[in-house]
């Protein structure tokens, strides 16, 4: 299970990931594409934090770290909403019971990654690394010129 890397430069704000996520999670989506003025679109979803505040706030054990993933089990959830308030990024929802990104476990690749037409979402660390290096390279060559 790999985490999902987001390349906001590539995001075209089509919300395909939102729709795909809703489709595979019974109408409750865990991705939110936020459009900031007319500058950029940013897909937001669970970061699967190493020190996950939601797991610390959850008293029933519904939220827990499972390797890299922050897993959620519906049958332990009481719907108290503490996790929703404990998430620094606002990406745990409670509609009566909680729901959040599960990286489409047990599937190897999350549906949002498979769907994204702009390849803004990826679960390949090497791809994310290559893109970051290319960006840094361009910045160095151009010497910060505009």
């Amino acid at each position: 299970m790999m985490r999902v890397y987001v390349d906001i430069n590539r995001c075209i704000g089509c919300r395909s990931c939102e729709v795909a996520c809703k489709r595979v999670h019974g109408g409750k989506g865990h991705v939110n594409v936020h459009i900031t003025e007319d500058r950029a679109s940013v897909p937001l979803f669970c970061h699967h934090c190493e020190e996950a505040a939601c797991t610390m706030a959850c008293y029933s054990g519904a939220l827990a770290k499972d390797g890299e993933r922050t897993s959620f089990s519906l049958d332990k959830c009481t719907g108290c909403g503490l996790c929703r308030l404990a998430c620094p990024f606002g990406v745990v929802w409670t509609d009566k019971l909680a729901h959040k990104c599960d990286l489409c476990a047990p599937n190897e690749t999350p549906t949002c990654v498979l769907t994204c037409p702009a390849e803004a979402l990826s679960n390949d660390y090497e791809v994310a690394l290559k893109r970051a290096r290319a960006r840094a390279g361009r910045a160095t060559i151009l010497g910060g010129k505009r």
Binding site: N9, T36, M56, Y59, T78, G79, L85, A86, G90, L97
Partner: protein
């Protein structure tokens, strides 16, 4: 019968979600106020007692003197950004107590506990898009 310690209640709705007989009901005035009501119940069931995060409930012997309905109301704390009520004071207090202090600030040093989840996402998107506009120059 269920006894409620109204001073301990967080106003979280866990009990009303979990009650198999719908004796515990709730009402929310979006963004302003929420209310939890416990109807007097004769069952010997203690699911709500077990699942209350604040341990505000207890199973006690049936008594005629207890009122038919216990009600607690909470004003919702307004979000520091948009001003819309989003959580009870007690719930936020609980978050401040359970999350380590170093995690209660974002990368810009801003405390996020008093900001509603929607505005937290907006701020996150704002921060991310600033980085991107920067890198588009290259």
């Amino acid at each position: 019968m269920i006894q409620v310690d109204t001073n301990k209640c967080l106003g979280c709705f866990a009990c009303s979600n979990i009650c198999p007989n719908q004796f515990i009901t709730r009402e929310e005035e979006e963004g302003k106020r929420r209310t939890v009501r416990w109807a007097k119940c004769k069952e010997e069931c203690d699911i709500c007692v077990e699942f209350c995060p604040a341990k505000a409930l207890a199973l006690v012997p049936y008594s005629e003197r207890t009122p038919e309905m216990i009600e607690v109301s909470f004003d919702l704390v307004p979000c520091e950004v948009c001003g819309k009520g989003f959580a009870t004071e007690q719930l936020l207090k609980r978050i401040r107590e359970t999350i380590p202090a170093n995690l209660q600030k974002d990368s810009a040093g801003r405390s996020w506990v008093g900001i509603c989840p929607f505005c937290r996402r907006e701020l996150e998107a704002e921060t991310a898009s600033k980085q991107i506009v920067q890198s588009r120059r290259f």
